[in-house]
């Protein structure tokens, strides 16, 4: 558990819950959590943004970077403003589509 996110791993599935402001200051913590997921052989990562207030370009960069490092990375439960940011910066494909929901 970190100040900014919790990681739960079950087999090859990981769920990373982030909270607060995801900006330059907390990027290293998020990267560390992503690395822990990789170390535990997660291949499908869900990133839960329900509790995130704000994400800036460095935060988006971490998500974008991470998405190329897993077989599947999806953003779930993002507040509508963050959904919009993701769409407006070409990261809309990271959002969980309704036909993908388990």
């Amino acid at each position: 558990m970190t100040a900014v996110g919790d990681l739960d791993v079950s087999g090859a599935l990981g769920r990373l819950v982030l909270r607060g402001d995801i900006d330059l200051l907390v990027v290293p913590e998020v990267q560390a959590a992503v690395q822990r997921a990789k170390d535990q052989h997660v291949t499908s990562l869900e990133v839960d943004l329900a509790l995130v207030d704000f994400i800036d370009s460095s935060g988006l960069g971490v998500l974008a970077q991470a998405s190329s490092e897993f077989e599947r990375l999806r953003v779930v439960d993002a507040p509508i403003s963050i959904v919009r940011i993701l769409e407006m910066t070409g990261l809309g494909d990271l959002l969980l589509r309704s036909d993908e929901a388990g």
Partner: protein, 431 residues
């Protein structure tokens, strides 16, 4: 009771003032403000009537370059190095950082005021002074305190002064470092961002505003290239970060993209070529960019975007609007795999298009699309009709004097008249 008859004791809250001083000094990076804070606190804490803090930016120089005063006017302090400075530095190197004279009038044969750093215009009899040294022991300056009555300072004032001078050393050293870094950064920035020359038939305005309270550089950039056939390739981009490292990366990315633009011409293929270039050279890291191709022969504009916010189209007639559609993924993180689709705009003479980076609209407590809507609303009300005017007004009224958390780059374009292409058949204006 007149002030100069008050016993020269310590103020009751001297300790608090000293702690506050410490806190202020370590959080303030501006040289002049650090100096003023220190000299005011020194005068208040010691009961001096006059205090001067002299700082020498160049250790080899003979004169002090900065002077901060408290309780006296500038004319009363002599900033040129003189005998008293030598007395002070030799005293400091002998392990006595402070000098105290209970009565300068009692010192043998001297132009006392000048020797002590204060001129004869401000009579000083009680005198207390200390050198301020940098972290490696080099003398940065001096803190001088004076009072017209003799015997006003005692040993406890010397100790207090040593505490103040300790903070002053930290503050001045920090301010000096900060200023040096900012000067380097500013030079780097000016070298990295091109001047955009005059282009026939079109007005192109560019602006760069660094993030507030940081180094004067960042990862945002603009570019305008004239192709051999007369078309203009325009770029606005953002390498994540707003420090010197981001600026350095930006230089690399900007140059790489311009090479690909000259080769590929097509905006979408240029952006994909940049992605492949960064991947091949192992340069990972989030980059967003909008690449546009303007044809002055028919005022058409092709726009491709990778991870970048939509530009604002400002027609000469009608309301401004953001370009429709979501961009392709950003560059540099392994997500862009095919050329971003280009949108083709047919501009009329006098229309404007504003490209910008997210620093313009990103604000912690306000969603970006709300900020963008406000930008559109502001632009709708602006009376200016030029690209330069648009940039100036948006910077002045939307960003404000203090700047934001992120740096901002802007490029605005306004077709003025049609210019025939060189060696090309124009596609012609479309209805």
């Amino acid at each position: 009771m007149a002030t100069d008859e008050r016993p020269a004791g310590l103020p009751a809250d001297a300790l608090r003032t000293l702690v506050d001083l410490g806190r202020l000094v370590v959080s303030e990076l501006d040289l002049e403000r650090v100096m003023q804070v220190v000299v005011d606190a020194a005068r208040e804490l010691t009961g001096a009537t006059a205090a001067a803090l002299l700082y020498r930016a160049d250790p080899a120089g003979r004169a002090f370059t900065h002077v901060a005063l408290s309780g006296v006017a500038r004319a009363t302090v002599d900033p040129t190095a003189s005998a008293w400075w030598e007395e002070m530095t030799s005293s400091a190197s002998n392990g006595r950082p402070t000098i105290r004279h209970d009565d300068l009038d009692a010192l043998p044969g001297s132009a006392l005021g000048v020797l002590a750093g204060f001129t004869a215009e401000h009579p000083v009899r009680s005198y207390l002074a200390a050198t301020v040294t940098g972290p490696d022991g080099d003398p940065l300056g001096a803190l001088l305190l004076g009072h017209p009555k003799p015997g006003r300072f005692e040993v406890r004032h010397e100790l207090l002064l040593e505490g103040i001078v300790g903070y002053a050393s930290i503050g001045l050293a920090n301010a000096r470092e900060h200023r040096a870094v900012r000067d380097i950064a500013h030079t780097l920035q000016r070298a990295l961002l091109p001047t955009v020359g005059f282009h026939e038939g079109v007005e192109v305005a560019v602006r760069y505003r660094p993030a507030a309270r940081r180094a004067q550089v960042g990862g945002d950039w603009y570019d305008a290239l004239r192709l051999a056939d007369g078309r203009l390739a325009l770029t606005v981009g953002d390498v994540a970060g707003h420090d010197v490292l981001a600026a350095a990366r930006m230089g690399t990315v900007r140059n790489a993209l311009s090479v690909h633009v000259l080769r590929e011409v097509d905006p979408g293929r240029s952006l994909l070529a940049l992605e492949e270039h960064l991947a091949a050279t192992g340069q990972r890291g989030f980059v967003t960019a909008v690449q546009a191709l303007f044809d002055p022969a028919d005022a058409s504009l092709e726009i491709a975007r990778a991870g970048h916010l939509a530009p604002l189209v400002v027609p000469a007639v009608g309301a401004p609007y953001f370009l429709d559609g979501d961009p392709a993924p950003p560059i540099g993180v392994g997500l862009l795999r095919r050329p971003p689709d280009a949108v083709r705009l047919q501009l009329a003479l006098g229309d404007r298009v504003l490209f910008f980076t997210d620093g313009l609209v990103e604000q912690r407590r306000t969603p970006t699309d709300v900020r963008m809507a406000r930008l559109r609303e502001l632009v709708r009300t602006l009376p200016t009709t030029t690209a330069e005017g648009l940039c100036d007004d948006v910077l002045a009224r939307f960003v404000g004097a203090d700047g934001g958390d992120d740096d901002v780059a802007m490029l605005a374009i306004r077709p003025l008249n049609l210019v025939p292409g060189r060696g090309r058949v124009s596609t012609g204006a479309q209805a």
